[in-house]
């Protein structure tokens, strides 16, 4: 379903890791909603398993992960594995947080669709999602 041809986008946002700050992801949630998307926020301290289950049940087009804790390599590897096992490879997996550029490169090679560093503008995210998912006029 994550091919071009949708008229709108449904996305799940989640926060992994142990830090409880969710101001950043809430700002993104609002921006995506204001850009016309259906946004589900599933909360902080989510496990990869819980995130993928939620994505499956909600039938989203994309999963957006916020991670600040530094454990991004293992977490995204786990998410990729689960996405495959649950046959959800047509859902985009994207994320942002404190991730060094070389790790971004590695993870994107492994199959994460897009990662951003800490100072991403919400416009970048919106642009990426619309370009990947929406019907081209």
């Amino acid at each position: 379903m994550a091919q071009k041809g949708l008229s709108s986008i449904k996305i799940l946002l989640a926060k992994v890791g142990l830090d409880g700050h969710d101001r950043g992801i809430k700002v993104i949630a609002r921006a995506l909603r204001d850009a016309g998307m259906d946004v589900i926020y599933s909360g902080i301290k989510q496990t990869p398993e819980a995130i993928m289950d939620a994505a499956l049940q909600e039938g989203v087009d994309a999963i957006g992960i916020s991670i600040l804790s530094g454990a991004h390599m293992t977490l995204f590897s786990e998410l990729l594995k689960l996405r495959k096992r649950k046959k959800l490879t047509d859902m985009l997996l994207i994320g942002g947080g404190i991730i060094p550029p070389e790790d971004i490169e590695k993870l994107e090679k492994k199959g994460v669709n897009k990662l951003w560093g800490p100072d991403t503008s919400t416009e970048d995210i919106i642009h990426f999602l619309k370009e990947k998912l929406l019907q081209s006029e």
Binding site: R33, V39, Y41, G43, D53
Partner: protein, 310 residues
């Protein structure tokens, strides 16, 4: 890409992924006549409960608490409906977050959605999803809604048991009375009973309800706190009691017949809406000068030569 037929088969075998795919088709299209036919034919008679009430009264928190009770020995589906912003066209689906650890319940399927299409889509989508879950062997469905689309009256025919949730904070009760919900909710919940003001609200409500009960069902008022779990056993019992009451008084078939009538009406309105909308966009300006006559012309045009069902 597999068609809905194979998803339907897999969903019947209990494959969660396939259940999700079918619900997504119902939520977002494209709809297929034969898929709908299949769902209506299965006519599973699934028991449905609706939780309704204003934003913030604690519906989602109650839904999460009810999961443990409802999912005893059966699969439970939760359908959470949220409003769509008419300005941005987007929606914030903020119900799942209240599930917390319950999200991992092995016999729970939770889908949030905001209606797309016409003002009648909310009711239609929720109802069709509930029917699909019934076809796939779920034991019951809980629907959370602030109102079914723009028309609250349709709520009356959404579920077998309708629970109206109020909270002591802010003039909810007056809101509800205005909306006429008081007249036909089956169970009343005053949530956030851990906060001050629950008792006075209960008395006001008792007064309001004193004349109800002529059908043999006297709607109970339950005080709950989704935060500390107070009153949850009792709420679940009240729901079961109402279900039992419907069954033993032969009322369940009557209710479901009126659901079907409304479903048919709302499909009709939804189809008309779409067709008329397209016509209206291209309608000549003079149609608008007399909107009443304009409407008649547009209706005639919209259905001209389309008597046969397409």
């Amino acid at each position: 890409m597999k068609g809905w037929q194979s998803f339907f088969k897999e969903a019947l075998r209990g494959e969660e992924q396939a259940v999700a795919r079918i619900l997504t088709l119902l939520e977002r299209g494209p709809l297929d006549d034969d898929l709908l036919k299949k769902i209506y034919e299965s006519d599973s008679q699934i028991y449905t409960i609706a939780l309704t009430g204003s934003t913030g009264v604690g519906k989602s928190s109650l839904v999460a608490q009810l999961t443990d009770f409802l999912a005893r020995g059966q699969y439970v589906g939760i359908i959470a409906m949220d409003p769509r912003s008419s300005i941005s066209g987007g929606a914030f689906l903020g119900d799942r977050i209240r599930l917390k650890e319950k999200a991992q319940h092995p016999r729970l399927f939770f889908r949030s959605f905001a209606p797309r299409g016409t003002p009648f889509s909310g009711y239609i989508t929720a109802k069709t999803m509930a029917r699909a879950l019934g076809a796939f062997g779920f034991g019951c469905v809980l629907i959370e809604t602030q109102g079914a689309g723009q028309s609250d009256w349709s709520l009356q025919h959404l579920a077998d048991t309708t629970v109206l949730v109020l909270s002591p904070e802010g003039g909810d009760e007056i809101q509800m009375m205005k909306r006429g919900l008081i007249e036909w909710a089956d169970i009343f919940v005053i949530n956030k009973a851990d906060r001050p003001g629950a008792k006075p609200l209960e008395y006001a409500l008792m007064h309001e309800l004193k004349d109800r009960g002529h059908t043999g069902w006297k709607p109970p008022i339950m005080l709950t706190s989704a935060q500390n779990g107070q009153g949850m056993d009792e709420l679940f019992e009240a729901i079961e009691k109402h279900h039992h009451f419907l069954r033993t008084h032969g009322l369940i078939d009557q209710r479901r017949k009126s659901h079907q009538e409304l479903e048919c009406l709302l499909w009709t309105l939804s189809m008309t809406w779409q067709r008329v909308h397209r016509k209206l966009e291209h309608a000549p300006k003079q149609f608008l000068k007399n909107p009443y006559e304009g409407a008649k012309k547009i209706l005639a045009e919209a259905f001209h030569g389309r008597k046969k069902s397409s």
